[in-house]
């Protein structure tokens, strides 16, 4: 992304709400306990059964994974390679014996707290270069990962002697279950934080998280099991071998996330052609899209629908390009219903040329339909765009409360035109508005 701004200190502090605070407190408690206990254990003579080379190798692997964080669509941050390292260290069964003349394998003895300590040190070390480069430290997502790893480690580490002596099928099933559990914990924490951050409903956020994260979760889970078992043949060397395939998988995801971001940026930029051409007021498309997405989120729309809504809201005025002369002030709310229909129709035609955005075109086409009395009824997204557009035509970039209250009153007077539910959600969003820096 071009020109990402340095995080605003004040905004960052404001973003630490109760959910985040709880998560950080939980992670901090775990890590403190882990460090304290490990500090006592750290005399190798006292604990000959713990393989410190393995701890170091896994810690390094986790740090490397944390260094290569992955920004996923929707502003999610993930560190799949670090997760593979930490989870497989939690699920490690056997390692080659180090202090024995006769080559054989020994069951690993690292405690759950040692697993947490190794994961925490690895992640913190891996985060340092990010901090040095002025990027966000990603404390929240590190805490979420540590909590997920801790859940798995506390269940599995006490069982390891029993599991390691059983047939591999049983060990595999237990590991598969635990990996799923760990992934669900990670998704749950992610959804809680996200619901807090963007004001989404928790159930919707959780479903979004599961829907969007399962492919990566599946790859991470399988990789964890592969790593945990392979040490029984080639020892911790597996980490050196497996890093190659993991990197390629990560590159595939990075490219995917990258093109998604560029796509969104491009539509955001090109939607401004109507502003440059003088058809609409500067900033109109972006304000309408921001409002529409917030309203849609408040009404519990899932993320893929929100993306379509964002695209449609950005391009809702693109049909005006086909008009001979700009509408005065660009306010579509002031022109006749027939003209509004025509602009919507023309805009939808423009968008459907792409052939891949038909659902977006549909939202643009129906944006001029009244909420009640039109057959067929307009989709929710179109009603949202209609209300958000009318609101912005009246209020513009101003955050004057009286102005916005008057505009909302005007929308409420017309319940056949503007859906009452949408207007109430809009009122809630408008009440939260802060001065935009754009």
């Amino acid at each position: 992304m071009a020109g990402s701004q340095p995080p605003d200190r004040l905004a960052y502090l404001q973003a630490i709400d109760s959910g985040r605070l709880l998560l950080m407190a939980a992670a901090a408690t775990l890590v403190t306990a882990a460090f304290a206990v490990t500090a006592v254990e750290v005399r190798p003579s006292a604990h000959p059964t713990i393989d410190w080379t393995a701890a170091l190798a896994f810690g390094g692997f986790i740090a490397f994974g944390e260094l290569l964080r992955l920004a996923l669509p929707g502003g999610r941050e993930s560190a799949p390679i670090a997760m593979v390292g930490a989870m497989s260290y939690a699920l490690l069964l056997e390692l080659p014996a180090r202090h024995s003349a006769k080559p054989h394998f020994e069951i690993t003895h690292q405690s759950a707290l040692l697993v947490i300590a190794v994961a925490a040190v690895g992640m913190i070390v891996g985060a340092l270069p990010h901090i040095a480069a002025g990027r966000p430290a990603g404390v929240t997502s590190i805490c979420a990962r540590i909590v997920a790893v801790a859940c798995v480690a506390f269940i599995f580490r006490p069982l390891v002697s029993d599991v390691a002596t059983k047939p591999w099928e049983l060990a595999f099933s237990i590991m598969a279950l635990l990996v799923c559990f760990g992934w669900l914990v990670d998704a749950l924490v992610g959804a809680l934080i996200r619901a807090d951050d963007v004001g989404a409903k928790f159930s919707v956020a959780m479903l979004d998280e599961i829907r969007l994260q399962w492919p990566l979760g599946l790859a991470v889970g399988a990789s964890v099991i592969i790593t945990a078992f392979s040490t029984k043949t080639i020892g911790i060397g597996i980490l050196a071998v497996f890093i190659g395939p993991l990197l390629v998988t990560q590159i595939a995801f990075r490219r995917y996330a990258g093109i998604r971001a560029t796509y969104l940026q491009t539509v955001r930029s090109l939607a401004r052609v109507t502003e440059v051409a003088g058809y609409v007021e500067a900033g109109h498309s972006r304000r309408v899209s921001r409002l529409a997405v917030s309203v849609g989120r408040g009404l519990g729309m899932p993320e893929p629908d929100l993306l379509a809504l964002e695209y449609a809201a950005l391009m809702h005025d693109i049909g005006q390009l086909s008009l001979r002369d700009p509408i005065p002030g660009g306010a579509t709310v002031l022109v006749s219903a027939a003209d509004q229909d025509r602009i919507a129709e023309l805009g939808a035609d423009v968008i459907s040329v792409a052939g891949v955005l038909d659902h977006v075109a549909e939202l643009v086409r129906c944006q001029s339909w009244p909420a009640i009395g039109h057959d067929p009824a307009p989709p929710l997204g179109s009603m949202i765009i209609r209300a958000a557009n009318a609101f912005d035509d009246m209020v513009g970039g101003s955050i004057d409360r009286d102005k916005s209250a008057a505009a909302l009153e005007r929308l409420r007077l017309d319940p056949t035109e503007y859906s009452a539910g949408v207007v109430e959600a809009l009122a809630e969003v408008a009440g939260r508005r802060v001065p935009s820096r754009l």
Binding site: A2, K232, T233, G235, L247, A252, Y263, R272, A277, S322
Partner: protein, 456 residues
């Protein structure tokens, strides 16, 4: 169709593979073991062959162009570790039975022989470097010798694979079959992916001791997730290009005569970019820059664009501002900085008399020099309300005349060369419908009819 030279090449590859596999039993190296010695090893071989076929059928486009990628080398390399070179050749040879139905017989034959040869070469490298002892499930005791030998085997496999394919591609360039367009451009990515996934061969081999054939299934999971992500990437890239196209068309609806102009300039710029051997990233960027180069024209009032008589100085200034307006619109798109330069400076002239900055010679960014040529050429070969289109030959003459003063000579030469090889998508001879009133009567892109400005 397959050219005669390509056929000859394929036959030679098949023959060499056959001879080498046959000789392997009798060479002084003790290749061990023969794959069919015991039923257990036969099962390993069959499972790996099945894995190869599954991976091969999952071949997936790496970019929107034709470069395809498949992780099947993991199966061959697992065979290298577990069973040795001959078995690896036998695993590679099942490419002959590929489940991809669209393959021609020649392609199957070539793929089978080629993958067998790669397997044999990788296996030989592995056995040579690994040190004494038979092949088989790797052990932690010799981890580093095995890992190094395996890395070498993977490198040999990737190199042999790509050079053999490159050979057939070169020999068969003109025809449709076995063509790997864009191979060179995404080669780094392809090589990196191949090398990275080769590591799975050793992972399968070491898991085999614990879970047997199931290890192949388990390893397929991350493979298919990566494939899914690559597929999503290609899909998004296509959607992105289509959306760009649609938006650019929308921008052009304002003027009937310049429809398709952005698209054709973009194609011309890409033709030049290929001719002067730009990297694939830059070619992608110039494609978009070409498409969007005139987007700023939207900021020029319609009455100025439509004016019949000479322009006042203010009106001319408004037109001169359009590259800056374009920049304003696209500035936040995260593609190459160079594309933005291309849009902003596409009306500069080599002699320094262009706009908006009056840059001269090599001060003008390369993208802008390329777009300027394609832009002027398309303008001259398109119909305008006040004149007919020029023929391609006439437009080329104009470009030659302007080379050195208005255009970069090298770019003009590259474009003329490209026009000899590729066909130019000539603009349809436009006749504006009678009811259409929005018509530009001056074309700011046309070098033969410069805008007329009132001199005060």
């Amino acid at each position: 169709m397959v050219s005669r030279a390509a056929w000859l090449y394929i036959v030679v590859v098949v023959a060499i593979t056959g001879i080498l596999v046959a000789r392997t039993h009798t060479t002084p190296f003790h290749f061990h073991p023969k794959p069919s010695q015991t039923p257990h090893q036969l099962i390993v071989l069959l499972v790996l062959q099945a894995l190869f076929l599954v991976c091969d059928s999952a071949k997936t486009p790496l970019t929107s162009r034709q470069t395809k990628w498949s992780p099947s080398s993991a199966a061959t390399l697992a065979a290298v570790v577990l069973l040795g070179p001959v078995a690896a050749a036998l695993v590679g040879a099942v490419a002959l039975l590929s489940l991809r139905r669209q393959l021609l017989a020649a392609e199957r034959l070539f793929n089978g022989a080629m993958y067998a040869l790669c397997g044999l070469a990788a296996g030989t490298a592995y056995v040579q470097l690994k040190g004494p002892g038979p092949v088989g499930i790797p052990s932690y005791k010799q981890f580093w010798p095995i890992a190094i030998a395996f890395a070498a085997a993977a490198a040999v496999h990737v190199l042999a694979n790509h050079s053999l394919i490159w050979g057939v591609y070169r020999l068969n360039r003109g025809s449709g079959m076995l063509r790997r367009e864009g191979l060179e451009s995404s080669l780094t990515l392809l090589l990196a992916s191949d090398l990275g996934y080769a590591g799975l061969g050793l992972v399968i081999a070491s898991l085999w001791m614990i879970m047997g054939p199931f290890s192949a299934v388990l390893v397929l999971v991350p493979l298919f997730v990566a494939r899914w992500a690559m597929g999503q990437f290609a899909e998004q890239q296509r959607a992105y290009a289509a959306t760009m196209n649609a938006l650019c068309q929308a921008v052009e609806t304002k003027d009937y005569y310049t429809r398709g102009h952005g698209d054709r300039v973009s194609r011309g710029a890409v033709m030049i970019a290929r001719q002067i051997k730009m990297s694939s990233d830059r070619t992608d960027a110039i494609r978009f820059a070409g498409m969007l180069h005139d987007v700023g024209k939207l900021g020029v009032p319609t009455q100025v664009l439509q004016k019949t008589g000479p322009l006042t100085e203010d009106e001319y200034a408004a037109i001169q501002l359009h590259p800056m307006r374009g920049l304003e619109i696209v500035r936040e798109i995260g593609f190459l900085y160079e594309a933005l330069n291309g849009i902003m400076h596409h009306h500069e002239r080599i002699d320094g008399r262009g706009y908006p900055m009056g840059l001269a010679g090599h001060e003008i960014p390369e993208f802008a020099r390329v777009i300027a040529v394609a832009d002027a050429f398309d303008s001259m070969t398109s119909t305008r309300s006040y004149r007919e289109a020029k023929s391609i030959a006439m437009a080329i003459d104009e470009l030659r005349r302007g080379a050195g003063t208005q255009f970069d000579e090298l770019v003009v030469q590259a474009f003329i060369k490209a026009l000899e090889v590729e066909e130019w998508p000539l603009a349809a001879p436009a006749r504006a419908p009678a009811d259409l009133t929005i018509v530009t009567v001056q074309d700011h892109d046309d070098p033969t009819a410069p805008l007329q400005v009132v001199i005060p």
